[in-house]
Amino acid sequence: MRVCYKGLVLGLFLIIGFSGVSMEVKAADAPPPCLDCHRTPEFDFGVFQKSVHGSQSCLDCHGGYDTPTHHSNPPMPIPKDQEARVLKYQKKSKAPLALLACTNCHSDVTAALATSVHEKWIREDRPAAGPTCVDCHGSIHAVVKAESKNLGSRQKASSCGNCHGSAEQIVKTSIGQDVVPTYQDSIHGKLVAVGSDRAPVCHTCHGNHGILQVTDANSPVNPENKPKTCAKCHEGANAAFASVVSHRPMAHHGSHPGPHWTHIFFSYLTTLTLLGLSAHILIDLFGEIRTQVRRRRGAKHAGVPAGLPEAVERLDLHQRIQHWLLISSVILLVITGWPIRAAAIQTSRTMIAFLGGAHMAGILHRIGAGVLIVAGVYHIIYLLMLARKKRLKLLMVPAPKDIVDLMDNLMYFVGIRKERPNFGRFSYIEKFDYWAVFWGVAIMVGTGFVYWFPVNFATWLPSWIVNAAQLAHGEEATLAALALFVWHFYNVHLRPSIFPMNWAWLNGKISTEALIEEHPLEYKEMFPNQDTNKNNDKKKH
């Protein structure tokens, strides 16, 4: 019986003892007793459990207490050499002592931090306190592994932006105010914004815990070391290439005005062209509606004389294949490129995710570029073959008549002229489309190659050209996309007289009726002995 009594006491002791340990030392499924008093709105026990610190007890960091009656004991004394640091921490944290505890487990990190510019701002008397672990990693109670999907590149980049993009910090610390916006505007920042995990964030180039000032000779972004840092991702990068990657607006490349004027030129070109095209569409639409109304009131169509075919060939198979290649490539390029150009917009992230991510969008964009190049080369070869067979008529070359036709056509649409101008095989609208594509393909392919192989181009050409090319690529993309979807789609699909489409792009044919209406001079060339019912009617009167 005595043995049983001793066993019972020992058993009770062990049960109480172990339960006490599990409550005080290890965070178990149940919240620790500390939370009975220290529960705060910011602390979520579930999040803490899932964090990298979920297995730690409160006392591992908040040391010097004797739970559950720590109020009777004085808190841990502050080490003499850490007093200044704790005073600084007090400005930023409710638990400044706990921040000292990071060293207990992360001594390598704190050793690196000790050499950093951030530490300097903690240690020395500066206008603002430097960042603590919490400022970059977020709450210690919720921190997750850097490799975790929960902490994407966007979050990593934005953690630096919290201070380097803060107006208050910029004023206090005199750090460059363009640092964050210029990163966000760069291809690196844009890729990160649309969800890329491969594109570099701040610490990829600047280093992380041991980060140094750019002027420090050991900084990876010191002008001396920058090419080597760039070369980690861009093999063969040199100083010229490194000068392109910088925290300054893309239109400002040192003292060279090239990028600035490129930006202004393309802004004016795009704006004025789109204004002109929009005005033409509105006047055309007005004229189309007038024509439809007149026709409903009994005005006659140009009839097709008896004995003529219902349709004639407009585009041969080669031309249709070139057009198909062009359509598919341009649509693919717009869909995969525009979301990256406008990466700051939330929808871009969704669109890029739908395409399979930023990397896949990049691959698709290059495929689109490849198809566009094939279309361009095919067209050049086609023209050369026609020239060799002496069948190249150069009907697409602009002529003074086109300007006269443009004026006459607009006057016809607004009702000043009674007849439309007589167009030949290609009207000024088709000539504009053709040469706009020629210009667009040359600019987009040329500048696209600079984007694709920036190191090579920065080696061969002055580095400002790389900046200028990147600007031109984006601006021309805006012009090309809007001109295609608004101007071209209106003229070949949505004009009331042509809806749903001009079928030539599919079967290569145009109806003889449309030929008489749209290309009367060509009709006369094709059928010199024929006349239209419309003209017959006029003769009778």
Partner: protein
């Protein structure tokens, strides 16, 4: 080439409806963004909040909406037209209704 426009119109209407559901709001933002970039090139950055830059941003919004609305509408109209043309080809009624040989040469 004479075609029944009904499938095209149905396709275009569906395309336009789809645009209103998924495309209208994003394209307003994209167009405005394009307008803002152009205004930045012409009027300098930060873009002044005067009448012309605002008008350019509005113009961008209008073009963005028009362009993408056209893209959706044309895409569906073409699909509708092709579906209609295929249906007409495979339908036995169509064969009876068009006994004349094609005049295309």
């Amino acid at each position: 080439m004479k075609n029944n426009k009904v499938p095209s119109v149905i396709g275009a209407a569906l395309g336009f409806a789809l645009f209103l559901v998924v495309g209208l709001m994003p394209t307003l933002v994209y167009g405005g963004y394009a307008g803002l970039l152009l205004a930045g090139g012409i009027f300098g950055t930060p873009v002044p909040t005067t009448l012309l830059p605002r008008a350019l941003v509005m113009f961008g919004m209008g073009l963005g909406v028009t362009g993408v609305a056209f893209f959706f509408t044309v895409g569906r109209a073409v699909a509708g037209t092709l579906a209609g043309a295929i249906a007409q080809k495979v339908s036995p009624k169509a064969v009876v209704a068009q006994p004349q040989p094609s005049t295309n040469r």
